[in-house]
Amino acid sequence: MSQAPVVRLQNVTKVIGKRTIIDRVSFEVRPGEVFGFLGPNGSGKTTTIRMIVGLMGMSSGDIHIGTHSVRTEFPKAIVQVGAIVENPEMYKFLTGYQNLLHYARMNPSITKERIQEVIELVGLQDRIHDKVKKYSLGMRQRLGVAQAVMHRPKLLVLDEPTNGLDPAGIRELRDYLRRLAQDEGTAVLVSSHLLSEMELMCDRVAILQKGQIIDVRSIRGQDGDAATLEEVQFDVDHPDAALGIFEGSGRMVDGQLALSLDRAGIAAINRRLVEAGINVYGIHVKTKSLEDQFLEMTGSETIG
């Protein structure tokens, strides 16, 4: 857990004109972690990603990839990064293969065999010698992923990668990213305005609103500290009596006793109810989805 972060943002700020578009954003992504960058449209996800990959300058703050600053040692920093920023735009008058060759020539570590390997990895072998202008959006996404992972980057950055993918494609991408993180230790940074996708894909998410990070939280709870409390309802025969026992912490919801608990807490409460002679017919865990939490935090802000 004490592994050095692959990418570290420190108080990154972007001012365009008089508007502060990104305001002191700081976070880091560790090796093997899938990190979600979540926020409504216009919250600044793409702008932040552009700064990470050096397409835009920072007004203040700094970004390091490994030990190299994107500001001062750009080639050394960026060689460890693969990315798709917004849509995967390719040279339409070239074939898929020529597009990959183009980017492969710019990186000394990529062999012809490696190009072939990623083509098969993204499943484009049958169409790779077609001109990109004949590709569907899904195929362009695949080609985009291929160029991003060709040089085995330590950090993979994907900006809204599920746009234009069908549910099967999204699932495939999700599985691929998880495997990449687990097997190769790649740090993956994905942005999205779709909460449901992030929940399934990510270990942690940062929630961005109007250019500021308002929360960073674990999703998969592997961090120990993040054993999140959940709303648990107990279906009992004497709810009033039960509520009496847990005065202060308990509430009455739909005629059931409701409490905020972690896993161990559920067992403890159940034992106390039974000891008090109250029959428990059912225990329901109301997992608060990230979506609910997100809506709570960002208020009535529209999503998507």
Binding site: L55, I78, N87, E89, F93, R105, M106, Q147
Partner: protein
């Protein structure tokens, strides 16, 4: 870091894998052939000497090459913005200067290729059609052979071409739309030479510092005073002025491109 030649190879691929480029090459190859054969059909082999035909065709082709290379130069950077590919191009272990340089060099190589093709085609077709006898002397300078004249003609034309490319290239880094960059470059080149032609009639001395006063360098071969009667200049002066424009255009291209935020 990897070999810089790879970047030039990439830029060449993006020039020569386009249908547009092959149309340009086709025109450059076949136009002189058609003109020579047309003259032959109309008036027989006595119509002209092969050298004067070569200069006529070269002048026409080089004018087209000026437009073609201005188009390619104007699009080389702006096109990447228009296509959105700039976002993938610039996230590689190369400085922006290196990428810009590779684009500049490949555009110059394209101009060089078209120019050499024109030289070879116009020479061969006219020798084949009108014979290789020396004919009348092209230059009014005593003792200058026709081959010498033609070589100087091409060299000076290529110098102008370099400046045109540098200008188009500057437009390309300055604008994010390739349509705008191409349109504006071509428009400014034409409007500039017309307006300068008018200005040259006045006797204001500052006129001699306008770019377009110095793009017709071939006039100096026969006339040491240059193309404008009432503004006598020298080849050295013209080259000096062009050198200043060359440096300024490149400074603008590089400083704009190196600093700009990529928000395509």
């Amino acid at each position: 870091m990897a070999n810089f030649m790879n970047l030039i190879q990439n830029e060449n691929m993006k020039i020569y894998r386009r249908v547009r480029t092959w149309i340009m090459l086709g025109i450059i190859v076949f136009l002189p052939i058609l003109i020579s054969l047309g003259v032959l059909a109309a008036s027989g082999t006595d119509a002209g000497s092969s050298w004067s035909m070569m200069i006529i065709e070269s002048t026409i082709s080089l004018m087209l090459i000026t437009i073609f290379t201005a188009v390619v130069a104007s699009e080389t950077v702006a096109g990447e913005f228009t296509w959105g590919t700039i976002k993938l191009l610039l996230i590689r272990p190369w400085s922006r200067s290196a990428i810009l340089l590779s684009k500049y060099i490949s555009t110059l190589l394209f101009a060089l290729a078209l120019t050499v093709i024109t030289f070879v085609i116009t020479l061969l077709i006219n020798m084949a059609v009108f014979g290789s006898s020396d004919g009348e002397q092209l230059s009014s300078v005593a003792g200058m052979s026709n081959m010498e004249y033609v070589l100087q003609f091409y060299l000076l034309q290529f110098v102008s071409l370099i400046i045109i490319i540098t200008f188009g290239f500057m437009m390309s880094s300055a604008f994010r739309s390739s349509g705008l960059a191409i349109g504006l470059s071509i428009f400014l080149l034409f409007a500039g030479s017309i307006i300068t032609g008018l200005l040259a009639m006045t006797d204001k001395p500052w006129v001699e510092y306008i770019l377009f006063m110095h793009l017709d360098l071939t006039s100096y071969i026969n006339n040491a005073q240059g193309p404008f009667q009432n503004h006598p200049m020298s080849l050295g002066f013209s080259l000096g002025v062009l050198a200043i424009y060359f440096v300024v255009f490149n400074l603008i291209s590089w400083s704009v491109f190196r600093k700009r935020d990529i928000a395509a």
